[in-house]
């Protein structure tokens, strides 16, 4: 197979690059001997007309025992110069120089290798920035690893549900357990800060006294809260503000300390300023008020109402206590509480969740999945590079033989090849870092807001760079290992007898087939994951949200009782609606306690006298103004919606479809009674049924009870001080933002409009995780497919090359071209088939990790697997087809003459 097309007059030096066979340092014995052998071989070629390989072999033979001679000469030389370390260092420098020169001499191969590795390293580094930012970066709290949330947990007939906790419960948890150093509460809310500087919405928290201490925060000015300020209701009319707010609103003026400011229309004294890098448990707070003020200024039914659960406390684990221990401890406490307070605490427990896990939610798992996927891609890139290098290794057999003849040990040759691998990897890493830079910038745009917690900033920093270095080293070794091992196994004696290339080339074919099968398997696994993710995303997009989000502009308001007491709230809402309705471009306006996908409603319990078998049902209660359903495009299925005239005395309710399906499946619900809050609570009569609108997510099965059902009441009957306003527009909703703010200011100048955004944003946000995962996995798998195809092509091409003699004879004997092609393609498919089987099994094992992200498609979906496997097979056939065609076009005579 060393084709006869080569120019026999070429010198050994040019042809074999023996000048590069540097074992020892330049200027050493090896270089001398090499020079001798080169010139001697050239002489033999000239004088005796020997071929290149033959001349070399003869030169080595005449030279004698190369290894011994070299050792002797070196020993003599060494007695002259005692600088051994230079020899050792020189060896490495030599290896690197040689590797670089080899790389430069094969620009095509080098380009392919560097591109492959660059893509692999770039992709994995990009994903690592996300991994690092979300999973490893320090949270903005002291010793955050020991911080946990204590989430109330309820066993309901529909399954377990996460709930808050009541103040009384939290006290019990803290007193009766032994696992916590400290427990604090915080309730995130939006405060309305007013005064001569203007009205402003500020995210903040009601917090208990120990909150700042528990999180390890010291104020930059003043102090935090004292125990007596968190005693009886309204005992602490004080406030701590964040440094950022201090700067923006008061220009860091020192005399803010001790001043009173208006928060939710209460005069609170500023007692301290929290450092700017402390975001509170909401991760965005700038204002803190003692929890004793919550009943006066915010929500909450009263500190002693055990069943009113709306707080999620944060706790610091005691030294040496793990999450599981704390969980078991609180479980026991919950059982005792259930015995003491059966009314409120039956089937209630507590879930201890590390703070980081709680902030990440399902994002953490998604990030791991993506990291795993990019790891598979990197592995595939390594396999592909190994493949390319193996292809070259068979080309380099004469060089390797020469080295072995010169006495280079197996380790020495291994080292040379590994160095080459690392040099390639470093070149690839250079490209990879450039790509990662672009990738991270792209990721910042691609990562949907809300997918990552706010402290997770994506940036290429030292840690990411360290990761890239680590990956580069690994990739270098991995991709060079197979070629190095194959080549170093060369048998010199046999090699000198037979044509050298046969030895190295033949052995590597099996390894290359295995590598290609592995590539096919990896690509198939990635493709299955990507296709599953895309189908799930598709299914999410196809979900009918139950409302029409197009051309709806939404905003939120909070109305303080001090400004609009009791019965002034409803008229205010009516005036606001009228003012907004009068704006040009506005079609209709309505208000509600929440809007689809922007919901902030609390769960309420309802009792149904007509269903005595059901004790009570938790529902999401929505308080809506007339025109709410038509404005949002929620279809009315039966009866009537909330109408004008449904005032503070109207005991009517509108049920959602799933509420009816679950509780009144076989009768007309219109006319049925429901009691809100208990059997002695407010009574309502159902007057209509509307389609299910998606308030909290797009994917939970409402009819099956995956989530609590929705129930609507007239806004004026059960008013709420913070509410959303929905404006259906005739024009682009975003363009109305300014005039909406002005209209609200005309009605009530002291109230700040917040969360002003088109409702379609929420819809997009809801599918953002699926979109993000689909795009990334799609890109990875497309890359994987290309790499695998290149791998198959390479192996089949070299197989055809290696068997050209056999194939040519077959053709000469009159074999049918179609059959020869079929044989080659069949060989390729056989290789791929092994990979396909392995890939399907791997995908079945791994795709379970995707389960929690999939909607509307199962992780074992047979159609997906079959389609992907079939697609891979088609790609295999195409990749094998090109070399197969070449096989049938061989000129028998020229091939046979070459041998």
């Amino acid at each position: 197979m060393t084709g006869g097309s080569e120019d026999p007059d070429r010198t050994v030096g040019r042809d074999l690059s023996m000048g590069d066979l540097l074992d020892g340092p330049a200027g050493g014995v090896d270089e001398e001997i090499r020079f001798y052998l080169e010139r001697r071989a050239e002489e033999l070629m000239e004088v005796e007309g020997l071929g290149r390989e033959e001349a070399l072999r003869r030169a080595v033979q005449l030279f004698g025992d190369v290894d011994r001679i070299r050792r002797e000469a070196r020993r003599e030389a060494k007695m002259k110069s005692p600088q051994r370390w230079r020899t050792m260092m020189g060896g490495w420098v030599q290896d690197v120089r040689f590797a670089v020169r080899t790389a430069v001499r094969n620009p095509l191969l080098t380009g392919a290798v560097v591109l492959t590795l660059g893509l692999g390293i770039g992709a994995s580094t990009t994903v690592f920035t996300v991994v690092d930012a979300t999973l490893f970066r320090a949270l903005p709290f002291r010793d955050a690893g020991r911080l946990v949330f204590l989430q109330g947990y309820a066993e309901t007939p529909e399954g377990p549900r996460i709930r808050g906790a009541s103040p009384a419960e939290i006290r019990d948890w803290e007193e009766m357990s032994r696992s916590f150093q400290d427990v604090a509460v915080s309730d995130g809310t939006v405060f309305n800060v007013s005064g001569e500087e203007g009205a402003q919405r500020i995210l903040g928290e009601f917090v208990s006294t120990g909150y700042f201490e528990l999180l390890g925060v010291s104020p930059v000015r003043g102090r935090t809260f004292r125990p007596e300020e968190d005693g009886a209701p309204e005992s602490g009319p004080v406030v701590v503000i964040g440094e950022g707010l201090w700067e923006r609103r008061w220009g860091r003026s020192e005399d803010v300390l001790g001043r009173t400011i208006e928060v939710n229309d209460r005069a609170l004294t500023v007692v301290g300023i929290a450092p700017g890098d402390f975001p509170g448990m909401t991760l965005g707070s700038e204002l803190w008020v003692p929890a004793s003020m919550v009943y006066a200024m915010g929500n909450g039914d009263g500190p002693e109402d055990r069943g009113s659960r709306w707080i999620i406390p944060v706790a610091r684990l005691a030294p040496g206590v793990g999450v599981e221990e704390a969980q078991a401890d609180l479980q026991a406490v919950a059982r005792r509480l259930a015995e003491t307070y059966p009314e409120t605490n039956t089937d209630r427990s507590v879930l201890v969740t590390p703070v980081r896990d709680a902030y990440l939610g399902s994002t953490g798992q998604l990030v791991w999945v993506l990291f795993g996927a990019v790891g598979l891609l990197l592995l595939l890139a390594c396999a592909n590079v190994a493949n390319l290098l193996l292809f070259r290794a068979s080309d380099r057999s004469s060089e390797v033989l020469m080295r072995v003849a010169l006495g280079a040990g197996r380790g020495r040759i291994l080292r040379q090849f590994l160095t080459e691998g690392v040099v390639f990897a470093v070149l690839g890493a250079g490209l990879g870092l450039v790509l990662a830079g672009t990738g991270v910038r792209a990721a910042v745009g691609l990562v949907p807001p809300g997918l990552l917690p706010p402290y997770a900033e994506l940036a290429l920093d030292g840690r990411v760079f360290g990761f890239a270095v680590l990956v580069t080293g690994m990739v270098g070794v991995l991709s060079a290992l197979a070629p190095a091992l194959t080549v170093s196994r060369v048998d010199v004696a046999q090699g000198l007898k037979a044509g050298a290339s046969a030895v190295v080339g033949g052995g590597s074919h099996r390894i290359r087939s295995v590598l290609v099968a592995g590539e096919v398997a990896l690509a198939l696994m990635l493709l299955v994951g990507a296709v599953l993710m895309m189908r799930s995303f598709r299914a999410q997009l196809d979900v009918r949200p139950g409302f029409d989000a197009d051309r709806i502009l939404a905003f939120r308001l909070q109305v303080p009782e001090t400004e609009y007491p009791g019965d002034e709230l409803a008229p205010l809402v009516r005036r606001l609606e009228e003012e907004l309705r009068a704006l040009p471009g506005v079609e209709s306006v309505a208000a509600g306690s929440g809007l689809p996908l922007r919901d902030r409603s609390y769960g309420w319990f309802v009792y149904m006298p007509e269903r005595p078998d059901i004790e009570r049902v938790r529902v999401y209660s929505h308080r809506v103004t007339p025109g709410y359903f038509s404005t949002l495009g929620i279809p009315v299925l039966r009866g009537r919606p909330v109408e004008p005239g449904d005032d503070a005395q109207a005991n009517v309710a509108v049920a959602s479809r799933s509420f009816v399906e679950r509780f009144f499946p076989d009768r007309d619900p219109v006319g049925e009674r429901v009691y809100l809050g208990g059997d002695d609570g407010m009574a309502f009569r159902i007057v209509g049924v509307v389609e299910d609108a998606r308030y909290r997510d797009l994917t939970s099965d409402l009819a099956a009870g995956d989530d609590d059902p929705d129930l609507y009441f007239p806004f004026e009957r059960v008013p709420q001080r913070s509410f959303d306003v929905a404006i259906r527009t005739r024009i682009d909703p975003g363009s109305l933002a300014g005039s909406v703010r002005e209209a609200v200011a005309r009605v009530t100048p002291s109230l700040a409009v917040y969360d002003l955004a088109p409702l379609s944003d929420e819809l997009r946000q809801e599918t953002s995780q699926g979109r993000f995962a689909s795009v990334l996995l799609g890109a990875f798998s497309a890359l994987a497919l290309v790499l695998a195809a290149v791998g198959i092509y390479g192996v089949m091409a070299s197989m055809v090359g290696g068997r050209s003699r056999e194939l040519a004879i077959r053709m000469a004997m009159g074999a049918d071209a179609g059959r020869v092609r079929g044989m080659v393609v069949g060989q390729g498919m056989l290789t791929a088939a092994a990979g396909l089987i392995a890939g399907v099994m791997g995908a079945l094992a791994l795709s379970r990790l995707l389960d929690s992200f999939l909607f509307g498609v199962r992780s074992t979906d047979p159609l997906t697997y079959a389609a992907v496997a079939l697609g891979m097979l088609v790609v295999t056939v195409l990749a094998a087809w090109v070399p197969a065609r070449r096989a049938t076009r061989l000129e028998p005579v020229s091939v046979l003459r070459d041998e």
Binding site: G13, G19, A26, G27, V29, E31, E32, I33, F35, Y36, R39, R40, E43, L62, F63, G64, D65, V66, I69, R70, E72, A73, R74, R75, E76, A77, M79, K80
Partner: protein, 111 residues
């Protein structure tokens, strides 16, 4: 006296002789020896190299890297004063020795 030692002594001498005219690199030295001895010295060609470095260590010759006429890097050896003296002594010794041996073998008294 083993053949190796005998030969290595001979080789040293041949190298010094080769270098007597001008500096040469190893391959040229080898070629000169092969040509002038007409193949009668059947040794490993490679044996040249330990000998060259031994001579250099002894200070008889001096090696340095240079470029050939085709601009390839090679190590050139040059005979030093000590080397030339050594060559003269050894050559004289050899001549005498060879004459002695020849005389003994021919059975005639020396001239």
């Amino acid at each position: 006296m083993s053949k190796g030692n005998f030969l290595s002594g001979t080789l040293d001498l041949l190298i010094l002789r080769a270098l007597d005219g001008c500096p040469l690199h190893g391959y040229a030295i080898g070629k000169w020896i092969r040509a002038t001895s007409e193949g009668t010295l059947e040794v490993e060609e490679g044996a040249l190299y330990p000998a060259l470095h031994r001579l250099e260590r002894k200070g008889l010759i001096d090696g340095s890297w240079g470029h050939t006429e085709t601009n390839r890097r090679a190590r050139f050896y040059e005979i030093c004063a000590a080397g030339r003296a050594h060559l003269e002594n050894e050559t004289a010794l050899w001549r005498e020795y060879a004459r002695g041996v020849a005389a003994v073998l021919s059975g005639e008294p020396g001239t």
